[in-house]
């Protein structure tokens, strides 16, 4: 009972967890250290965050994937549909993080371009503006509780995470340990190192120009 009373709360927003990543949840459950909640799309994730906020029990750890489906909500679905041809570009997880922490974007994301998509940063700006116009306000989440766990490699996400001030990140690879969720949670709580995003400055990292 004592152990249950001390259990911390973890939310994993990830659409592949029931299948490909199912083995990675077992250690988190088995350890008994966390109450693990699961959200399978952006809207599901937002709902979880909102009810945690309204219930006065915010999550201690929130692990977010970058490529996420929108869920049943017109605004998010439209944002997804705009880049429908490309799961790479849709990156709704990233939009979610910007919305949570940089809703009133002060900076200029034009530098976050890639040769494959010189408008990558601008596109995030535009989609944030649309979200802002939708009038929906984001739930309150503490930035330091957030970790990103994605297939995307550091050059693609770290400039954004550095900009947003999200420090904990891990890339999904074949060698990812089974207990990655526990490790990320410990990294969020400052107990272990080794899950930091490399410091990559936007704009200086990529060669602009031709598109192959």
């Amino acid at each position: 009972m004592g152990k249950f009373a001390q259990r911390k709360r973890m939310l994993w927003i990830e659409d592949g967890k029931r299948f490909e990543l199912v083995e990675q949840m077992a250690p988190a459950y088995y350890s008994g250290e966390y109450i693990l909640h699961l959200a399978e799309d952006v809207v599901d994730g937002i709902n979880h965050l909102r009810s945690a906020e309204s219930g006065g029990k915010p999550y201690d750890v929130v692990i977010v994937d970058i490529r996420l489906p929108p869920g049943e909500d017109k605004v998010w679905y439209d944002l997804y549909k705009r880049t429908i041809h490309s799961q790479v570009e849709s990156q709704l997880g990233l939009i979610l993080l910007y919305w949570l922490f940089e809703k009133d974007l002060k900076g200029n994301l034009a530098d976050f371009r890639r040769p494959g998509n010189p408008r990558a940063g601008k596109d995030i700006e535009e989609r944030l503006t649309e979200l802002k116009h939708s009038g929906v306000t984001p739930p309150n989440v503490e930035k330091k509780t957030v970790a990103v766990y994605t297939v995307e490699h550091p050059p693609l996400v770290c400039p954004h995470l550095n900009y947003l001030g999200i420090e904990v990140y891990a890339q999904k690879t074949i060698d990812t340990p089974d207990d990655i969720l526990l490790k990320l949670a410990r990294a969020v709580e400052g107990e272990i190192d080794g899950f930091q995003c490399p410091k990559i400055e936007a704009g200086k990292f990529w060669v602009g120009g031709e598109n192959v």
Binding site: F19, V22, E72, H85, T176, F205, W206, N211
Partner: protein
């Protein structure tokens, strides 16, 4: 601009002509030319002079005819230009190849040419004039796109090969596990995984409860474990009862139970012998093993289904990528029934793995529907639709088989068109997606439902093919229940939908129009494919690339799942055979097989010798069956000689073990000592497990190996460019150590030791270069060496030697050699293996995969740094075999890659090499 007009106005009219003559038409910024009929230049503007390396000023000497790569082409073009002139148009050719002499040799220039004849007053041709536009860069770009597509095609091909291998490994493993649990595979596929888990969790609860109750009999029994350990077992019983509530997500139950089983086994291992009844302890162990097997069943089944599912997806992707590069398929009259039957056959394996039944109905009666078109394309289109239907079918409750219905209908006794309806019961398609799901790259918003993967290509490709054949495809999806839920209800899409894809194709005798008049189109800056309808089906590069990146994204997480499943299964089988995981992965499979084949020989020998005691024991089997067992011993002794391909030996032994088991099952009870029969059964089981080990190890290694190639490609596809890296002074020791560390995981998975030596004494050689590029180059070479290392006999660890050498006490150059013992590289391939896309002819040895990119990339990087790579490969044995002997390349070779780099800062060699490379 206004000022210039003003200036122009100031020039007196009489001067304008003079000024123009001074300037000359050469000054025109466009690539203008004028030649005599024989080709000699009369005029050439600056861009043309630059393009063709003509003198900047003065008379442009030479003839345009000398520039043609194909000298006969000019005559043809001139004729065409005159024909076009007659139509009032000018000749336009998008791709004409010119050869241009320059100081450093000859280079090829690809020009776009516009040309018109110049006639005098009497209408005679006195010359030709027009424009030349340099298109070399665009064509290079186009070639790069094609190369990339080929690379991707190649990777997907190796992917498919690995998948086939996986299928071969997973299927028998599943069979084995199902049988060990007393189930048929079919029952496993259709039973809810939770039901199986629950059964074996309950069985373990009973076994543990019995153990605990035995322990409570007296202090002696209680002392078999510490109190803490008994407490843990009691808590475990509790967790076995409540795991479902602890983990609300069904899919995680297997993983949680596996961890629990591991811990329980740990405690059982601590039981002091002789304190508890042996049978009770044994039963607890057995129940633990069974539950572990049950937990493996679910992920294995998921992996198996995923592998089955990936196969058609990947081959469709490969087909899609290579369509534009393939010989055009001839058109012919095609039987619809035959194509549909074939498509169903293609999908049977996948449907089977998902326990889905495909029901075919032909409602065309006596009419045999035929359409006109391309066989392979139509098959792909129909297969895609059926695959899609199977993929998105839901499992029904127990006893109800999920199905996909395929119906062929003709619209009347004298039909003009044929309809193929493909129906399933499962994932909904919302109405607003009826059109969009056919768009390329689009995946329905509910398509990720229940962990299904896809690329968003299949339906788009199918629609295109059907349209090309004068047909079309439509979809409709409605709730399956009579009592529809409210459309606005949040769980509207949680109910099962009946989804129907309807294909319409015109009958073969219908007028065909021009819809199949194929022609190749050319899309600048885009990938091009056959445009068989005249309407464009180009896919712009960013779109294509993001589709591919998405496909590889699915692949990445899929590989994660496979790695874990294979590792856990391998772990279990290795433990059952009394081996450690590492030993199972590193020992040559033949050695393991031989061990267990010999064990079975001994067990059968014992059985036969027992049978020979008297007629009663001999009567345990029929003489024919005893004969079979004796023959089996013979075959177990000689299988090496019978089957030369090592990889086939495992499957042969598996079949033999099966037959031996069948025969033993016929033993009449009570005639032979029970222990001897039991021992024979155990030996059969062990041999079977050993035969599973080899394909599982191969698959595990292949999966591990697939990831770096895939992730490199995925990263390249997603980011589109490499980083701009600064030059820096780099410690070579540090760099090489890092590269070796990068590869240590892969080396571990293959049981290879990397031996690193620095022979530069106390010096730490430094080079000037790009850290990441060099790291990738060294990692590639070490990866390659590990990949092509052979496993050695027992006790001998396979190795890769990495040595850093300096050429003198004051070195100007540093050399890193990477050596391995294994797959030979024939001498005539010493150069070619560094060519992009080339794979050594022995490189496919033992299922090793590769893209043919790694070595080429490494050589390029080294050259850019003013260095080089060379390779040498010699037989490893002192006694070389005759080079002409057919088994010359069957012996292990010592292969040495020597990488040289000039030391940093030395005479600026690297800098200039770098500069050249950048230029």
């Amino acid at each position: 601009m206004g000022e210039r007009i003003h200036e122009r106005k100031k020039i007196p009219d009489e001067e304008i002509e003079e000024r123009f003559h001074d300037l000359g038409p050469e000054a025109l910024p466009a690539g203008f030319y004028l030649v005599r009929p024989d080709g000699k230049f009369l005029l050439a503007s600056k861009p043309v002079r630059k393009m063709l390396n003509l003198p900047e000023n003065g008379n442009p000497k030479g003839s345009i005819a000398d520039y043609y790569v194909n000298p006969d082409l000019r005559e043809t073009l001139l004729r065409e230009a005159e024909e076009m002139e007659a139509k009032g148009k000018c000749l336009r050719k998008n791709k004409v190849e010119f050869k241009v002499k320059r100081e450093n040799g000859e280079s090829k220039v690809i020009v776009q040419m516009f040309c018109k004849p110049l006639r005098d007053g009497e209408g005679f041709v006195v010359g030709y004039y027009g424009c030349l536009v340099d298109r070399t860069k665009e064509h290079k770009l186009q070639n790069r796109v094609n190369e990339l597509a080929l690379d991707i095609g190649r990777v997907t091909h190796y992917n498919s090969t690995t998948l086939q291998m996986l299928e071969k490994a997973l299927r028998p493993t599943l069979d084995f596990i199902a049988r060990s649990l007393g189930m048929h595979l079919k029952a496993v596929v259709t039973t809810e995984p939770d039901v199986i888990l629950e059964k074996y969790a309950n069985r373990l609860i009973k076994a543990l409860s019995k153990l605990i109750s035995e322990s409570e009999k007296d202090d002696w029994a209680r002392g078999a474990l510490l109190d803490l350990q008994w407490e843990f077992l009691e808590q475990s019983i509790q967790r076995l009862k409540t795991y479902r509530d602890e983990t609300p997500l069904k899919e995680v139950h297997a993983g949680v139970l596996r961890l629990l089983v591991d811990d329980i086994r740990d405690r059982l291992n601590k039981i002091r012998p002789g304190r508890l009844p042996r049978a009770v302890v044994k039963d607890a162990y057995r129940a633990t093993d069974e539950l572990e097997l049950a937990t493996l069943l679910v992920p294995l089944l998921n992996s198996y289904v995923a592998v089955k599912q990936m196969e058609p997806t990947l081959s469709a992707l490969r087909d899609f990528l290579t369509t534009g590069m393939r010989e055009e398929e001839p058109q012919e009259e095609i039987s619809v029934l035959e194509r549909v039957t074939q498509a169903i056959k293609n999908m049977e394996g996948f449907a089977d793995s998902r326990g889905v039944e495909i029901r075919l109905k032909n409602l065309c009666g006596a009419v045999e529907p035929k359409v006109w078109g391309r066989k392979r394309e139509l098959l792909r289109a129909i297969s895609n639709i059926v695959h899609n239907a199977v993929k998105y079918t839901w499992h029904r409750s127990r006893g109800k088989m999920p199905w996909v219905g395929v119906t062929i209908e003709c619209d009347s006794p004298y039909p003009k068109e044929v309809r193929i309806a493909v129906e399933n019961w499962g994932v909904p398609i919302p109405e607003d997606e009826y059109e969009t799901i056919f768009e390329i790259g689009y995946r329905g918003r509910l398509a990720t439902d229940r962990y299904r993967m896809g690329t968003g290509i299949g339906l788009a490709d199918a629609k295109r093919v059907l349209k090309d054949h004068g047909g079309d495809i439509k979809v409709e999806s409605r709730p399956a229940a009579y009592q529809e839920r409210d459309k606005n209800s949040p769980d509207y899409y949680d109910q099962a939908f009946l989804t129907k894809f309807e294909v319409v194709l015109p009958f073969a005798f219908m007028p065909r129009g021009s819809h199949l008049e194929g022609k190749r189109i050319f899309g600048e800056g885009s990938c091009y494919f056959y445009d068989t309808r005249g309407s464009a089906f180009t896919v712009s590069n960013p779109t294509l690339i993001s589709i591919l990146a998405s496909a590889f994204h699915s692949n990445a997480t899929f590989l994660q799942m496979l790695e874990k499943t294979l590792r856990h299964t391998l772990g279990f089988i290795a433990r059952s055979l009394g081996m450690k995981f590492k030993a199972a992965v590193t020992t040559e499979p033949d050695i393991i097989l031989e061990k267990y084949a010999n064990r079975l020989i001994r067990a059968l020998d014992k059985l036969i010798s027992e049978s020979e005691k008297d007629d009663w024991t001999r009567g345990a089997l029929l003489p024919l069956q005893w004969d079979f067992l004796e023959q089996s011993i013979q075959r177990l002794n000689t299988y090496h000689d019978e089957i030369s391909v090592k990889e086939v030996q495992a499957s042969f032994l598996r079949h033999l073990a099966d037959d031996i088991r069948d025969t033993l099952n016929r033993t009449r009870p009570g005639r032979l000592p029970r222990a001897v029969v039991k021992n024979a059964y155990r030996a059969i089981d062990e041999l079977e497990q050993a035969t599973l080990l080899a394909p599982l190890v191969n698959s595990y290694v292949a999966v591990k190996q697939m990831e770096p190639a895939l992730s490199a490609l995925r990263d390249f596809l997603t980011t589109g460019a490499r980083e701009e890296e600064p030059l820096e002074e780099i410690s070579l020791v540090e760099l090489v150590t890092r590269a070796a560390e990068n590869m240590s995981e892969f080396a571990d998975s293959r049981g290879v030791e990397i031996r690193l030596r620095n022979l530069c004494g106390g010096t730490d050689p430094k080079v000037l270069g790009k850290r990441r590029d060099l790291l990738r180059a060294f990692s590639n070479i070490i990866h390659n060496a590990i990949k092509y290392t052979w496993r050695r006999g027992r006790g001998k660890m396979p190795w890769v030697g990495v040595t850093i050498e300096c050429d003198a006490p004051y070195p100007t150059e540093v050399r890193v050699t990477v050596e391995n013992w294994g797959v030979p590289i024939p001498e005539d391939e010493y150069e070619t293996i560094f060519e992009i896309g080339y794979r050594g002819r022995l490189a496919t040895d033992r299922y090793r995969m590769g893209t043919g990119i790694g070595l080429a990339d490494a050589k390029r990087v080294l050259k850019e740094h003013g260095g080089d790579i060379k390779v040498e490969s010699r037989p490893a044995a002192y006694q070389e075999r005759d080079k002409a002997s057919p088994d010359y390349y069957n012996q292990p070779f010592l292969t040495r890659f020597a990488l040289t780099l000039p030391l940093g800062g030395h005479n600026g060699k690297i800098r200039s090499a770098q500069k050249d490379a950048v230029d």
